[in-house]
């Protein structure tokens, strides 16, 4: 149903706040009638992008074309684009009917009428009350709220307010409907129902939807196209299947769905080494290249340990999830997450992988990414045998740490002890010492001179590898320690923060 016609086109859009680039070089063409989701962790610039399309933020650079016309600097009220806001932003001083009719009161439509001389002329006129009446009734029917038009919006439930917010937009027949995490405030059951309803509404209305969310499942369920963003940069654009099956980098793989992420090295033609073992794979990378390896939990094949088993480990946890069991298996220093419908009672299990289940990705040359780092009682995070201080308030904008070490935001309180974080550290932000100054100890495994600096790889005692840019020379085999400052640790939570509420 999506046509080939491009309705909105963003090219090289940049939004900076001082030195901080909220959105960096964002380019995207959206076709008419598509359901596009911009997906990313909080603070990745997805809402800023949406606000630029809506006209609430002016881009610092780049252009936005709507049907080929430049609308980069057009104010919001002149754009044929409507927004469903995160907290709905309904008008509490108006009832449901007036909220929905709000936009119509500003609209003028050409009306044929006869002037004093009896000639037919076309005048721009506001809608008549009867026309507004008809349209409001229709819009409320679309969202299943036709009974409630006289109600005060403050007396409605979250789901009903949501519907009013949608009706208020679609009544204007916008060319594009923007939805900024519209389901965030609803409970799980409601959210699932609304996902299906929104999708149906999209089909029925034929309006282009641009949807912003941090919920990967929501994105996979609803979208025609998903745009994955991180740090203001587009990571991947593709259909849900493409994004899930062929993630372009470790970030996308880690963010979309649960996955095992390993550091690997190419040891031959379509041969990769990770988990202390060589595997056949389907992706071709140069020999000796360090790569990210992603394995989906459902691709891990489990079996009972016998004498032929090469790779096996202790089962550290087993959870029944309804359709399948979820196993955590400790292999060396790595934890492997596996899903299986079989119920194993063994203390140890063997794993196997087929080449199709091993996804190999180029390591982004910028950063060090580590997954599954556990938050300790004192709010430090364990990484490669060391403990890093982190600023947990980054997980939840507007939050702070209270005296007891809990994360608080407004009324809500979170205990993140035991939570698994994904950590990202810029390779230029790691200080390396030849004494025990730093938190993490390791051995230099390679040191390459890059013209003006050395690119050093340090392997910790538990086989995590760090890429470091430094001005100092270190020799292979040298024992070093790494110092990482609190402000340089960028963190991301796996799963929903609400799970940690106390």
């Amino acid at each position: 149903m999506a046509s080939e016609e491009v309705i909105i086109s963003l090219s090289n859009v940049v939004k900076s706040f001082g030195d901080f680039h909220a959105v960096d070089n964002f380019s995207l063409d959206i076709k008419k009638g598509q359901f596009v989701t911009i997906l990313g962790p909080s603070g990745c610039g997805k809402t800023t992008t949406l606000r630029m399309i809506g006209g609430f933020e002016l881009p610092t650079g780049g252009t936005i074309l709507l049907n080929g016309k430049d609308i980069t600097k057009l104010p919001p009220y002149k754009r044929p684009i409507n927004t469903v806001f995160q907290r709905y932003a309904l008008f509490p001083h108006l009832d449901v009917y007036d909220n929905v009719a709000f936009g119509l009161k500003f609209k003028k439509v050409p009306v044929k009428c006869t002037n004093r001389k009896g000639e037919e002329v076309i005048k721009m006129k506001h809608f008549k009350a009867s026309q507004i009446d008809e349209m409001v009734t229709k819009a409320l029917q679309v969202v299943d709220l036709d009974e409630l038009e006289d109600r005060d919006v403050t007396t409605l439930s979250g789901g009903q307010q949501q519907r009013v917010a949608i009706a208020r937009c679609i009544i204007n027949k916008p060319e594009i409907l923007l939805l900024d995490e519209p389901l965030g405030a609803l409970d799980l059951k409601m959210r699932k129902d609304m996902q299906i309803e929104l999708k149906e509404m999209h089909k029925k209305l034929g309006i282009t939807f641009i949807y912003v969310t941090h919920d990967q499942e929501e994105a996979l369920t609803m979208s025609d196209v998903i745009v994955v963003m991180n740090h203001g940069v587009v990571q991947q654009v593709g259909t849900p299947e493409q994004i899930y099956n062929e993630p372009t980098n470790a970030f996308v793989a880690d963010f979309i769905g649960e996955s095992n992420l390993f550091n690997g090295i190419m040891v031959g033609d379509k041969k990769v080494k990770f988990l202390g073992q060589e595997w056949l794979c389907e992706d071709d990378f140069p020999l000796d290249e360090r790569v990210d390896v992603v394995v989906r939990p459902e691709d891990v094949i489990l079996s009972e340990v016998n004498e032929k088993s090469k790779i096996f480990g202790q089962v550290t946890s087993k959870v029944f999830k309804g359709v399948h069991y979820e196993y955590l298996i400790q292999i060396g220093k790595n934890e492997v997450l596996a899903k299986s419908t079989k119920n194993y009672d063994d203390k140890e299990l063997a794993i196997a992988l087929i080449p199709d289940g091993i996804h190999i990705m180029k390591k982004p040359d910028l950063n060090n990414i580590f997954t599954g780092c556990e938050v300790q009682k004192d709010n430090t995070v364990e990484l490669a045998g060391g403990y890093l201080e982190t600023d947990l308030t980054k997980l939840l904008p507007g939050s702070k740490i209270d005296d007891d070490g809990y994360l608080v935001k407004g009324e809500k309180k979170y205990d993140l002890t035991g939570a698994k974080l994904t950590i990202e550290i810029d390779k230029t932000k790691i200080d390396i010492y030849d004494n025990e100054e730093g938190q993490i100890k390791g051995t230099v495994v390679s040191s390459i001179y890059k013209g003006d600096h050395y690119a050093i790889i340090v392997r910790s005692e538990d086989d995590e590898e760090f890429i470091i840019d430094t001005n100092y020379e270190f020799n292979g085999g040298e024992i070093v320690s790494l110092l990482i400052k609190k402000e340089d640790v960028s963190i991301r939570l796996k799963g929903d923060i609400d799970e940690y509420e106390i």
Partner: protein, 263 residues
């Protein structure tokens, strides 16, 4: 029976205070308003008030000054409150203090100073009594308008204004269709805090108009000063009814919404 202390006994002092200084005086006012100089029941004061065109003019002038003061205060105070409530300034205590501080300086002193300044620029009470009074009133009551407006503005929901713009409202339409309705509780508080107090105030008009403008407050004062207790009481009673009427009129609108006023 043994005497047992109960918590409600704490209220006794207040009840006594209420009775002595509020309820009993009210009865006195009502009694004097409807009796003649010899103390017998009569409508003399009422008759005198309604047949005296001068008295009627006092009410009219008072109402005029009160409405004008309130409007001018709103026009000046609204943008100030809006700007003060903006993120850039709302942590700036000094700036907010500067606008609120006049409220804490004795107003007799302030009025005397205003008179001298107006005199210096040629707006004497003798020549321009109305303008001088109006300026004095606006100056005195502006903080009472800014403060309640400021506290509602702090709570303005910017996303609602964005939503209005998103739905096709131009900046001016956003202001009238959303910003004003949103700040209505503050506007109502501001109006209640200026309209009636201006009508009943007398020091300001007395000092600034050099006695050329008589407001209800002045008229009551004059009646009592000339020992016309019955007339004074009746005017006071009328003023009280006016106050109650406006309170009743504004309360209806306030009930549903969050109250953004001073109390």
């Amino acid at each position: 029976m043994k005497f047992r202390f109960q918590r409600k006994y704490f209220s006794i002092p207040y009840i006594i205070f209420l009775a002595l200084f509020i309820i009993v005086p009210m009865f006195f006012i009502a009694y004097y308003a409807f009796s003649n100089s010899s103390g017998a029941f009569s409508f003399e004061a009422a008759k005198k008030f309604f047949t005296d065109p001068a008295k009627f003019q006092v009410i009219l002038v008072s109402l005029f000054i009160a409405i004008q003061t309130t409007l001018i205060c709103l026009i000046i105070g609204y943008p100030i409150a809006y700007i003060l409530a903006k993120k850039e300034y709302n942590h700036n205590v000094v700036l907010i203090m500067l606008f609120i501080m006049p409220m804490w300086i004795n107003f007799v002193l302030r009025t005397a100073a205003t008179r001298d300044i107006l005199f210096a620029i040629g707006l004497t009470g003798g020549k321009h009594p109305y303008v001088a009074t109006l300026i004095g009133m606006v100056y005195n009551y502006l903080p009472f308008v800014i403060l309640p407006l400021y506290s509602t503005m702090l709570k303005l929901d910017r996303s609602q204004m964005e939503a209005a713009a998103d739905l096709g409202a131009s900046p001016i339409q956003v202001f009238f269709k959303n910003t004003i309705p949103q700040s209505m509780p503050g506007i109502i508080s501001a109006v209640t805090m200026t309209l009636m107090p201006v009508m009943s105030s007398y020091v300001i008009s007395d000092a600034l108009s050099e006695g050329n403008i008589t407001l209800i407050g002045n008229s009551i004062y004059l009646s009592f000063a000339n020992s016309q207790w019955n007339n004074g009481s009746f005017t006071a009673l009328l003023l009280l009814i006016l106050v109650l009427l406006t309170m009743w009129g504004t309360n209806g609108r306030k009930s549903e919404e969050v109250r953004g006023g001073l109390w």
